[in-house]
Every structure is written in structure tokens, then in C-alpha cells.
Amino acid sequence: MTLSNSITIVLAFGLAGCVTASVEDNREETTGLLQGETVVVMAKSYHQGNETEADYISCVEKSLGRGSGALKVVPGQVFVDSLFPWFEPRTAPSDTKGLVLLMEKPGVPEAIKRMGVRYVVWLDGGTERITQGGSLSCAAGPGGGGCFGFAWWTDDADYEASIWDLSDSEAAGTVTADFSGTSFLPALVVPIPLIARTQSRACSGLSKQLKAFLSSNEKV
């Protein structure tokens, strides 16, 4: 391996922005998944002001379904379509009291049983840029171009997953993930991005904790 290759690898993997993380769970009832039972991941309704990004939901959905301790995940859209019109942004129950009423509607328990859905994970929250600074300028001319300066920014990813157990229409608990990451972009002719993948880290952190939470037989 040449020196330049080694430097490239170090730059790609070694230099990244820093991320601080906090993942916690709050258990309200005993969980666990039996053979054939599945999980669905949904965003809390935008009618209630939720702004959770679609790519974050998709990331959690994928992360739960792969790797060690992978869970069987029903795609959110399949679940919503099968239960139309009861899980639309306007009509989805906002609490487990509404869930009890929903389970009495014709066709609803049957559709849930058909898909084997045991838990609904409601995601709330988002990633925001909280601070940024520095300055960076780039110029290009006939002889070439380049950038000079230094810029930085901090993203805060704050998500909460509320878990409902459909087998008894109760809230099973919550898992929260709070990640904060600062990215740097120094430039001396060539900009060197040191990006903190805050949202991506929040996705893997929350998913890992959710897997443990849902699969665990820990008593309350």
C-alpha cells in the first residue's frame, strides 16, 4: 500500500467530526417477540406538528430489520394501507386510549393479526442545525481554483420512539436518542470536510436500543 493510499484511508475514516450521544429507555411493561410477530415503524402525525424526516424513519426501519438481533419489520406504508383509513395522519390514534377504540373497528384486529404486528414504534423528533460559524471562500480562474478558510456547524438530533404493544393495547415504553455532532470544514486550497454524521449515528443508536428493548424479556 502506498503512502498516499494510507493517507486517503486515514482521511476517510479517521477524520470525522465529533458526536456526543445519549440513548435511554423507559420501560412501562414487559416486552418480547414471539415467532412470527412483527414490528412497524411510523412517524407521529404531521397534523400534530411532528417533523420527523422520512429518511430517518426509513433508516430506523432498515436498521431494525438487519444485523444481529434483526427483527421482522412490516413496512410502514403497507401497514397504513392495510388499515386504511384508520392510521392516516389525521385519523391515527394519538394515545393508547384511542388504540383500544380502534381495535373494536371492523376489519382492524384481523388486518393487524394478518400482518403479525405486535409493536408499533412511533417516532417523533428531528435533526436541527443549532449553531454554525466561520467563513470559507472559494475562487476559480483560468489557472485553477481553490478555497481558503474554516467553517463549522453543530447539528442536534433529538428523537423519541414510543412503543405500543398491540397485543394488549398498552404503551410498552419509550426509547430516546439525543445526539449532538460538530462538523468542521478547513480549507487550504482543497477543502477537507470532517463531517459528523449526527442523524445517521442517532439512527443506529436508537435502532440498537430499540432492538434490545423489544427483544428483552426484562420484567418491569
Binding site: S45, Y46, H47, Q48, E51, E53, A54, D81, S82, L83, F84, P85, W86, E88, P89, R90, T91, A92, P93, S94, G98, L101, L102, K105, P106, G107, V108, A111
Partner: protein, 237 residues
């Protein structure tokens, strides 16, 4: 020759710049999943207005960009499918069909009363939003106006990619789906259409339904007044 090449280049540049200031969104037919609700035992006729077959909304945003949203015949197909799921029998009437030539318990006339949207530039968020206001008028089998109901639907989609056309398209489809959910769960409560299975309204009912039609509680377009968001109304069926 050089002048002609320059002219052609200028024309291409101009058309590229012009295209950069206009966005066209075409909404394909939004399929509604088969709903988990019981059909109402009614024979209804649905009059599809001419505008439902070719609805185009054009708006200039912040003096910069013109958005053209072409719903085409999406509304016509949407209401045909929706009412097909809601009632036992549905006859679809064109704008020029005479309703007296058909037998039914109720005649429904949906209309678009308003169409609005917002883009991220306006709201300083990453989301496109669409509001559609439908007015649904219900007549009995004798042609008396039984009730009028305004449905305000909302759809929101986060910006994906550079242009945002797909996001706006998705927001429009979500708004139509929102309208479908509201109509499926609340139409009978709001319009009492099921009562028309017993025959046309009598004179006193016509009087009261005419006043109900003008009642702000029905016509102010506030869905929250009759349907609490994030919950299920016990009287939905």
C-alpha cells in the same frame, strides 16, 4: 454562421433560465386502498363536474417561481373510487347528464372550492404542503338540496432532491388521501346521507337542511369542528 450559432446558444440559455423559474407537477391518479369500513346501503349518483377531468392550478410564489400543478383527471377517478368503496351502488353522471333519467337514493356533487400550496421558501421549512377544499353537496332523489359539507384536506411532504416537484406531487396525493379518510369516516355524520335511503326529504326537512347548508358550522371548512385530529370519533359509523 457565427451570428446564427450565437443566436442559437442565446436561445438555449434563455430557455434554460426560463425553465429554472417554472416548475410543472403532474399528479397521477392517487389510488386509495380498500378501506376497513362498512358500505352504506344506498344507491347514489355522483355528478362529476367538468373541472374534475382537467384541473390545473398555477401560482407564482414570492415573485420568483411559477408552479403549475396539473391534477388532470385525478379528482374524477378519486371520487369514483372513493364513493365506490362507500356505497352499495354508484352511478357516475357526467356534467351534462340529466339526473332525472336515473333512479337513486341520493345525488352527490363534489366540487373543488379551493386549492393552495406552500413551498419551503415560503415556510422556511423543508416541507411542501397542499390544502384542498372540497364542497360536497347532497341532494335527495327528488332533487332537493339535503346538505352541503366542506372538507378541508391537508398533505405535507418533505423536500427530496433538487427541484421539489416530486415532494409537491406527494403532498397533493396525501391531501387527497386525507380527504378520502375524512369523507369515509365523517360524511354520514356531517350530511346524514344514510337517512335518504328512506326516501326524499319532506317539506320541513328541506327547510331545516337549507338552513343547515348555510350554517357556518358546516361551511366554515374547519375539519376539527367535526373531527378531532389524532383520535377516533365514536360515531364514525
Amino acid at each position: 454562421m457565427i451570428a446564427s450559432t450565437q443566436l442559437r446558444s442565446s436561445a438555449i440559455l434563455f430557455s434554460l433560465l426560463a425553465a429554472g423559474c417554472a416548475s410543472n407537477v403532474t399528479v397521477e391518479y392517487p389510488t386509495i386502498p380498500a378501506p376497513n369500513v362498512k358500505k352504506l346501503p344506498l344507491d347514489v349518483a355522483v355528478r362529476i363536474p367538468a373541472e374534475f377531468n382537467n384541473f390545473v392550478h398555477e401560482e407564482k410564489v414570492l415573485g420568483r417561481e411559477t408552479w403549475t400543478i396539473n391534477l388532470g383527471s385525478a379528482n374524477a377517478l378519486f371520487f369514483e373510487q372513493l364513493f365506490g368503496y362507500m356505497f352499495d351502488n354508484v352511478i357516475v353522471l357526467g356534467p351534462d347528464d340529466n339526473a332525472l333519467d336515473y333512479t337513486f337514493d341520493a345525488l352527490i356533487e363534489p366540487k373543488i372550492e379551493g386549492f393552495e400550496f406552500s413551498v419551503p421558501n415560503q415556510t422556511k421549512t423543508d416541507a411542501f404542503a397542499v390544502w384542498i377544499r372540497y364542497r360536497i353537496q347532497v341532494f335527495d332523489s327528488a332533487g332537493n338540496s339535503a346538505s352541503t359539507w366542506t372538507v378541508s384536506a391537508y398533505g405535507k411532504s418533505q423536500k427530496e432532491g433538487m427541484g421539489g416537484s416530486k415532494s409537491l406531487q406527494r403532498a397533493a396525493v396525501l391531501a387527497m388521501r386525507d380527504a378520502a379518510a375524512l369523507i369515509l369516516l365523517q360524511m354520514n355524520k356531517a350530511t346524514k346521507i344514510a337517512a335518504l335511503a328512506d326516501g326524499p326529504l319532506d317539506f320541513s326537512q328541506i327547510e331545516s337542511s337549507a338552513s343547515a347548508t348555510q350554517d357556518a358550522a358546516y361551511d366554515n371548512g374547519a375539519p376539527e369542528a367535526i373531527f378531532a385530529i389524532g383520535g377516533i370519533d365514536d360515531d364514525t359509523e
